[in-house]
Amino acid sequence: MSAELSKPGQHLVATGLSAGYDGRAIVSGIDIEALPGTVASIVGPNGSGKSTLLKSLVGVVKVLEGQVKIGDNVVTNTAPEEIAKLGIGYVPQIDDVFPPLSVRENLEIGGYLLPRRDVEASIEAVLESFPRLKSMLTRKAGKLSGGERKMLAMGRVLMLSPSVLVLDEPTANLAPLVATQLLEEYIRGFADAGSTVLLVEQRAKAALRISNWTYVLGGGRIVLSGAPKDLEENPLFVESFLGGAAPTK
């Protein structure tokens, strides 16, 4: 991860959060935080509300109760375009690119808030990090492979050098090797450079390996949380997520 793609992180905190669709809460009583220079991850079964939670943090889904704070700003139910201005980069689980736009145009929209003269340099920096995209700048995003598309989706948010990255299953559909590289090099590297990462990851083992703190979401609530090495020894966690019995001491 090249240094100019990230900024010093901001503290992201949600307290007493409930959120959902049409006034009906899908997640509730959520307390989570992500600190600068760290990766905080959220794991949990399908339908447990991980995506809904992330969406409520970035203004896409309505917060029904509680508060979201980024740095010193209270951003509860702030419009997504305002959240972007605060330096939050969000990569959704699906619909993560603009299919009819070319790869270059996707990156340009990613840099929409940049001063015009900085856009080109930012595209260069993103291509430095994702060299595979270099040869497909004029191709429509809708024509990319799943992996290329994820790279573009990541590249798009990095255009603004975000201080906080909110990522919803960035490794879904990626080949194991590419997934590991994305997590351990790019995403971990982003945190190591001082930024804040909040990550939803289906594969618990991989999530633990790069996280400083992990939350377990079940039925719309945080059912467990802790540092990776504590969770690895928690029988409940091991049984549900790591597949197997907890290591005996």
């Binding site: 375009e81 972007a84 619909d95 993560d96 145009e105 929209i109 990613g110 929409y112 798009r156």
Partner: protein, 286 residues
């Protein structure tokens, strides 16, 4: 061959109109069936300026502004409030249909039902490639080329145009990237409305005489041209307009011109059987 010339002019007018129509659909998800009534109202504003001693080409600007402002207001005060309520998309279509009737017959109530015409001269006749085109028709062709060129430039090379396409493709992601989509949508209505006003005026110029309900069936040609090229595809719209414009005018030379709209729909149905998303389209892309 002379019907080919007519077809070309009809296609040029239709192209200007369809590009605006398809932009509204692509960026704001409104199938604006009131488009024809905005066209004819704009033509009437041009007409009133024109008979009050404003030269036709200056009066045309009045028509363009009328189209832009009216369309902006339609979106702001009618379509957006209905969309906010999360009703089924068909509801907005029905609302637009109602607006169309009100716009057309409201105009008729005000201006009466007699035919009017601009103070305009058709100009010299020029012969080439077997076609006979007069000065006015050449100007319409030129206007069409300039307008389509500008739209191409807007969508492909400007920040605003790219934001419009991004908003069309994925509005949530556009907002997450910092695009103020509400502003983009309003601007789209201004621009597409200007195209609508322009189209209405050149449509009236081209038919020579017109009255309040003259553009009532125009929506049929618009729909045919739009779906032919692929809904929400500006380049498809230009292409669809060419096909529909030519086929309706050329067929009119052989069979009753009253059947124009029928021909348009036959062409459309034939095409849809082979490519349901239109020639350029893939579901919805701007």
């Amino acid at each position: 061959m002379s019907s080919f010339g007519f077809g070309l002019i009809t296609a040029a007018v239709l192209a200007i109109a369809t590009v605006g129509f398809t932009m509204q659909f692509a960026v704001t998800n409104v199938l604006n069936l009131a488009y024809g009534s905005v066209m004819i109202n704009s033509a009437y504003v041009t007409y009133y300026l024109n008979i009050h001693h404003v030269t036709i080409w200056l009066a045309l600007i009045g028509g363009v502004i009328t189209g832009a402002v009216t369309s902006w207001c339609l979106n702001r005060f009618i379509f957006t409030p209905f969309q906010r309520r999360n009703l089924a998309p068909i509801t907005v279509v029905i609302v637009a249909l109602g607006v169309d009737l009100i716009g057309t017959f409201g105009l008729q109530a005000v201006v009466g039902s007699s035919y009017v015409a601009f103070h305009q001269t058709a100009g010299h006749e020029y012969h080439f490639a077997g076609m006979i085109l007069n000065g006015l028709q050449l100007i319409i062709l030129g206007l069409c080329a300039v307008v389509l060129g500008l739209i191409h430039w807007l969508l492909k090379y400007t920040r605003l145009g790219k934001a419009m396409r991004a908003t069309s493709a994925n509005p949530n992601l556009a907002r997450n990237s910092g695009v103020k989509t509400q502003f983009i949508i309003s601007t789209t209505w201004l621009i597409s409305g200007a195209l609508c006003g322009l189209a209405g005026t050149v449509f009236a110029m081209n038919t020579g005489v017109f009255e309040a309900t003259s553009a009532q069936l125009y929506i049929v040609l618009l729909l045919a041209a739009m779906f032919l090229g692929g809904p929400g595809e500006p380049y498809g719209a230009m292409f669809g307009a060419l096909i529909i414009g030519l086929s309706t005018e050329i067929s009119a030379a052989y069979i009753n011109p009253q059947y124009k709209e029928v021909i348009a729909f036959l062409v459309l149905l034939g095409m849809l059987a082979f490519r349901p998303y239109g020639i350029f389209g893939s579901e919805k892309t701007l």
